[in-house]
Amino acid sequence: MLIVYHRLAHRWQNVFLLIASYFFYSAWDYRFLSLILISTGVDYFVGLRVHAAREAGRSKVARRFLLLGVCTNLGILAFFKYYGFFVDSAQSLAEAVGLEFVASSLTIVLPVGISFYTFQAMSYAIDVYRGKLAPTRNLIDFAVYVAFFPQLVAGPIERAAHLIPQIQTPRTVSIDDVREGLLLIGTGLIRKVVIADVAGTIADTYFSAPGKASSTQLLMAAYLYSMQIYGDFSGYSNIARGAARLMGFDLIRNFHHPYFAVSVADFWHRWHISLSTWLRDYLYIPLGGNRGSGRRTRINLTLTMLLGGLWHGASWNFVIWGGLHGVYLVIHRLVRGRRRAKATKIGAVFGAFVTFHVVTLTWIPFRLTGFSDVAAYFEGLARFDFSYDPILWSVVFFAVVLLLIDGPQAVTNDEYVLARRWPVALAPAFGVTLIAVLLTSGGVQTPFIYFQF
């Protein structure tokens, strides 16, 4: 595919990318391609109309068109992702207050990646409305922006101001792009295949029956899941960025060593950055951000995190997960507001240790969808029957591999430190990656976790 792509002229490269992206998406279910086409068509039209209305000084008309774009995207998302959740919740609520409520039941299949591309398309219309972006008049360029296959199904959620100019202008690929792109793909494969898939399989054995596991096993399962979800999601992001880089695109960085974060607020500057900044720019700030009273800011924070949790899935456990992070952020603001101590190394290490454990234990309601399982998990952990378990060595192994990847990058603050400082070591590192992938892959494919969102 890369050979064909690089042989084409710039305009044809975009056509080729569009066909490849639609083909890629159709491989899951061709019927849902229609949703991408609707989202693309509506937002393309809305962008042009909003811009025209703004130029003519007709702000009410611009607002109406923006509303059309936002409602279309949210409508698609609400129907395909949240219909069942809202109906079930309404039914439970009605039953709780003694009302009879019979809702029509529909079995709706969740289109893969719907949360990612609807958010991406929506941000375009909003940015045009805000005057931050001129609308693109080339439908193919815009369609590539919405459906760009490396990041279509699991992000990073790109901003139009960042990606569309790269689509519009001819792209070049240097030897550094190739090196760094391959490095991203290689580290992505290790994160996904060597860490996430194996750690996830081990964790599953304990999460499948949390009531039967010892406290040690439950704690180790939480560590393993923590590494699984990080390895899985950051692995996908890296592979997507690496593949894009080989085609001359620079996608935004989605993870910045989140488990080195010294506070939960710091964690959200490092974890799923494209979503957290999206929520900040299109939800938190429009709600008032931190411009109002302290109370208002805390409400805005909690609301943003609750909706961020709901973005992950139509289930109360995701809402609880988001809500907990909202509470942590509020507590962080309250504590920080009172005391601004000088950062020390020991303080940073302590902060990272506490933050990692808070974040890790908060993954439990994210991972275990049944409330009874969550209760069984924490009951088991509270038994405190800690003793040596050989699973500890697996946790150490995955942690060491992650540290080997993230450590040098974090210390040098250079994501491509291997390619830039030790280019000679690059080829053997790819060889080791191949061997590691082979030794950990058993022939059974494990889908990426974030595909479901």
Binding site: V198, T201, G443
Partner: protein, 330 residues
């Protein structure tokens, strides 16, 4: 170049005996029992030719005792014969066919190959391709083409490839799956465990009954066995091409599996008639020790679960099959 050198270095290291021993290869077959059978078969062939080979799923593995069969046939025919059991866990008829075609027929040329089938297997539309998706050798055989040939080549020549997934297994602290203990003829004894549950005859009390019995109450028509019969047809061709006589035999099952549905007896008869007609049209011998009676193997002490026999059941089936075999081929 650096990538290739690193991979070749690892390959070379794994060829050093001490390293190879420290990092053992993973079981390349879909089940550890396959290698056990190969070893047992080769040991037996050093002493005697194989006259009869039993193929099929786990019901063959546990329900057919070659020793009991040989004793009975030898008496009936007045000459010693030797049989061997290569029935394997969880196999569908297409997987049985593939294993015979690619493995057993290469190792042994018996006079007769007897394949046992039961109702649920004949109505299955599972293919060997999907069944062996997680294994190395069988997957390569099932895939065929360039992908299959590449896998086969790597499996044969690469020490590194033969260790696929071993790190994941080590990290998981997985114990090797509990194998079954086979005798020198490939037969494994099942533990009598469900007699009490079976004795209640109350299906709701028997864990997993609904799932196990699924399919025994589904609508039945002429298409039900189309895929299964097509697979048997291919197996017959392979067996005949290898110079052996192909025999199909019906494997009795616990009658309640059929009788839980209102049309159970008719269903059982329809299944037998279909098999018999197929065999007649194809010129294959069909053996049925139940004589068309679903209750013939109804005694609880014969079963360790709904279709695996206890040693008592295995001995009875093997002896009755031996008599039918001796009468047909004697």
């Amino acid at each position: 170049m650096g990538i290739v050198a690193t991979v070749l270095l690892a390959e070379g290291l794994l060829r050093i005996p001490a390293v190879a021993e420290a990092v053992p290869e993973r079981n390349p077959y879909y089940h550890g029992g396959v290698q056990e059978r190969i070893d047992a078969l080769e040991a037996l062939q050093a002493e005697s030719d194989i006259d009869v080979l039993f193929i099929g799923s786990s019901v063959v593995r546990s329900n057919v005792s070659p020793h009991a069969f040989d004793d009975e046939v030898s008496v009936a025919l007045g000459r010693p014969i030797t049989s061997f059991n290569v029935g394997g866990s969880g196999l569908h008829p297409d997987s049985v066919r593939l294993l015979y075609e690619r493995l057993w027929s290469e190792l042994v040329q018996p006079g007769y190959v007897i394949e046992f089938v039961r109702y649920a297997e004949l109505r299955s539309d599972k293919t060997a391709q999907e069944f062996f998706a997680g294994s190395d050798i069988e997957r390569a055989w099932a895939e065929g083409g360039i992908a299959g040939s590449t896998r086969s080549f790597l499996q044969e020549h690469s020490a590194l490839y033969r260790r696929r997934g071993v790190l994941a297994t080590w990290l998981s602290h997985e114990k090797p799956p509990k194998g079954y203990k086979i005798d020198d003829r490939g037969h494994s004894e099942s533990k009598p465990s469900l007699s009490e549950a079976l004795a209640t005859r109350d299906h709701s009390d028997i864990a997993g009954y609904e799932a196990i019995a699924s399919g025994y109450g589904d609508p039945l028509d002429e298409e039900t066995f189309t895929t299964g019969l097509a697979v048997l047809e291919r197996t017959a061709e392979v067996v005949e091409d290898s110079g052996s006589i192909y025999v199909i035999a019906n494997m009795p099952e616990y009658p309640e599996k059929f009788l839980a549905a209102p049309d159970g007896e008719e269903r059982y008869q329809f299944y037998l008639d279909t098999l018999e007609e197929f065999a007649r049209e194809r010129g294959i011998v069909f053996l049925d020790v139940t004589g068309g009676d679903v209750n013939e193997y109804g005694a609880m002490e014969l079963y360790s679960d709904y279709h695996h026999f206890t040693e008592t059941g295995a001995t009875r089936l093997s002896k009755e099959l031996a008599l039918a075999f001796a009468i047909t081929f004697g």
